[in-house]
Amino acid sequence: MTGIQVAPGGRIDNFIPPEGVPITFNLASRGSRLGAQILDILITYGSVTLFIILVYWSGLMGGAPLTALFLLLTFFIRIPYYIVAELVWNGRTLGKRINTIRVISANGRRLTPHQVVARNLMKEVEVFMPITTLFAAQDLNTWAGLVIAVWMVLVLLVPFFNRKRQRLGDMIADTLVVDMPKAVLMRDLSDSAKSTERQFVFNPEHLEVYGQYELQVLEAILREPPKSQDGYDRVRKVTKTIIRKIGYTDPVPQIDEWKFLLEFYKQQRGFLENRHLFGDSRQDKFHADEGKRSQPEAAKPAKSDAARPRRSRPPRRSE
């Protein structure tokens, strides 16, 4: 068993490449996989039909050789096309390229030819046989036909019944289908607070209140400067809340609220990162209670996944 863990949102948390540093991948949604499959079918069958029509029109071939060619081509676009495409483009068929998803090996190593072949051979049972049978639809009147139809639908639904969203072929080949990661580097918010003298000064007791989770929520807010009156109102609300919570006493002019938030973000982040380096990680605003409840926990080594906020936090226990 590879110990891949999948969070409910489809995020793979512990995919470990040979370098030993976990990388996050997001599982492709079932919808985009279905879409890619449909696109592939349309592309392959469409191009073969077009090709045959063109050849027929041009009069290069006709009759028997054309039929032979057609038969061979229709064989080729069923399983071999997927195998060759995924080998050449490293886990991507044309449909997957369009939908920006791709196949990766679940064990953190490179995708091997065996895996590509195995996962695509199963496609015959999982995808093509149901489609041809349902299109032919002549045998579906008897109860045996009905049983077969139900069974086929169940096989098609296998990706919905497991967390890794694997179809049978994926299970045999030990592969996953993930979204193509997109890397966009946004500017560092702590850089933008570049006033020469500090307009707002926060004391340590101001910065004691919040933890990493709140910091990153604030970061998300600051990434989108307000454009409408609504936005300004929201900024005001956030500012007021922060001022109240941290017990900040100096006046904050209305025009400087955005600057205040930026400055607060920067100093709060510096403070938290410092505490973190000293072994005092503060996940969120409940960190003070945690320290009270179990004293030895302060000596706990810094967790490697400290960078992620824990959203589903149990409510505070009354003591």
Binding site: V21, I23, P113, V125, M171, I172, P181, D188, S190, S304
Partner: protein, 343 residues
């Protein structure tokens, strides 16, 4: 780290994690452009220098990610590095083997070794076919009405128990002049039809092997009554030649596809100490090779059936070609790939 004395002032102004980012950002940007090139035109699109640079920068980015998780709380930065590393990983760990090499290794070692490891499954495959044929034959001899139960009319093509020996003989030695073109269509039809059947038999194996077994058994069941008709008409020897020329290869291929399915089914039924999923994955390696073998054999069988059987009529020659081919398969599968390491 820039611990220069005059940097003291800025140290106070910029955060440690922001400095960390500033020092490395150029490298990340460079990695991004290299990845973009490699994604578009493959690693072949990069020069030697650039390839070296790519692997170095990838390792640096992974290091940065690891460090950033420890010191930075800038979520945008963490996400960016995570994604960047993921993309670089996909480029760096792309399959390196050329398709030609992979195919050569498969045929020289992979397939013969997989076949030799699959004794039980092969036994199941051949047994399914043989039992089917035997039962079909005996049932037909007791009551010819069984023929119509087993064999669909369109497959029988007039070769029913009531058919005259003359007609039966004619189907074995079809003398109507077929042009090469028509034979080509016939061969490619046979190939794509038979291969689809083989893939089906194989892939159904994952459902506890039973469907594979039944399909193969049914193939045998078709064979039995057919053989019985011709034997009753005194054409047993001729049928043997007619079947042998392609059937040795084709029927063996179907049995091998069934064996591949059986490997999968056995993995599900009897996983031993492993989890079912792990066991399926391990057996999958051999099972897939068995199926590829079946596919190759079916291509050959299709060619022989489409061309040679229609062109060569003496039963002796049919036997020599058919069983000769069988001998070639057998010696390849038993002798090849014994020296190399297991793959």
């Amino acid at each position: 780290m820039s611990a220069s004395p005059q940097g003291r002032e800025t140290d106070f102004e910029t955060l440690r994690s922001a400095r960390f980012r500033k020092e490395r950002e150029a490298g990340w940007r460079r990695l991004e452009t290299l990845i973009a090139t490699a994604e578009k035109s493959g690693v072949r699109g990069l020069s030697y220098q650039e390839t070296l640079e790519l692997s170095g920068l990838y390792r640096q980015a992974v290091n940065s990610l690891s460090a950033a998780r420890a010191i930075s709380m800038d979520k945008a930065l963490l996400t960016y590095l995570d994604r960047l590393c993921a993309r670089a990983y996909l480029v760096v760990y792309a399959p390196q083997e050329s398709i030609g090499d992979a195919v050569w290794r498969l045929f020289a070692q992979g397939i013969p070794q997989a076949v030799r490891r699959s004794g039980v499954a092969l036994l199941i495959g051949f047994l399914a076919m043989a039992l089917g044929a035997l039962i079909g034959y005996t049932l037909f001899q007791r009551d010819p009405a069984w023929f119509f139960t087993f064999v669909p009319a369109e497959l029988a093509d007039g070769r029913t128990p009531e058919a005259t020996p003359a007609y039966l003989r004619q189907t074995l030695y079809d003398t109507s002049n077929r042009s090469g073109e028509v034979l080509g269509v016939f061969a490619s039809y046979l190939f794509s039809h038979n291969t689809q059947v083989a893939i089906l038999i194989f892939a159904l194996g994952v459902f506890a092997a039973l469907p594979s077994f039944i399909l193969t058994f049914y193939n045998g069941l078709l064979l039995g009554p057919f053989a019985a008709i011709f034997i009753n008409a005194g054409l047993g020897w001729d049928l043997f030649g007619w079947l042998s020329i392609h059937g040795v290869t084709e029927l063996a291929a179907i049995c091998i596809a069934c064996a591949g399915g059986a490997r999968l089914g056995l993995a599900v039924l009897l996983p031993g100490r492993k989890s079912r999923r792990a066991s399926l994955r391990d057996s999958g390696r051999d099972a897939v090779k068995l199926l590829i073998l079946a596919g190759v054999m079916l291509i050959v069988a299709g060619l022989v059936e489409g061309f040679l059987r229609q062109l060569i009529h003496p039963t002796e020659w049919r036997l020599i070609i058919g069983w000769g081919l069988g001998l070639i398969w057998l010696s390849w599968l038993t002798l090849a790939g014994r020296g190399g390491k297991a793959s």
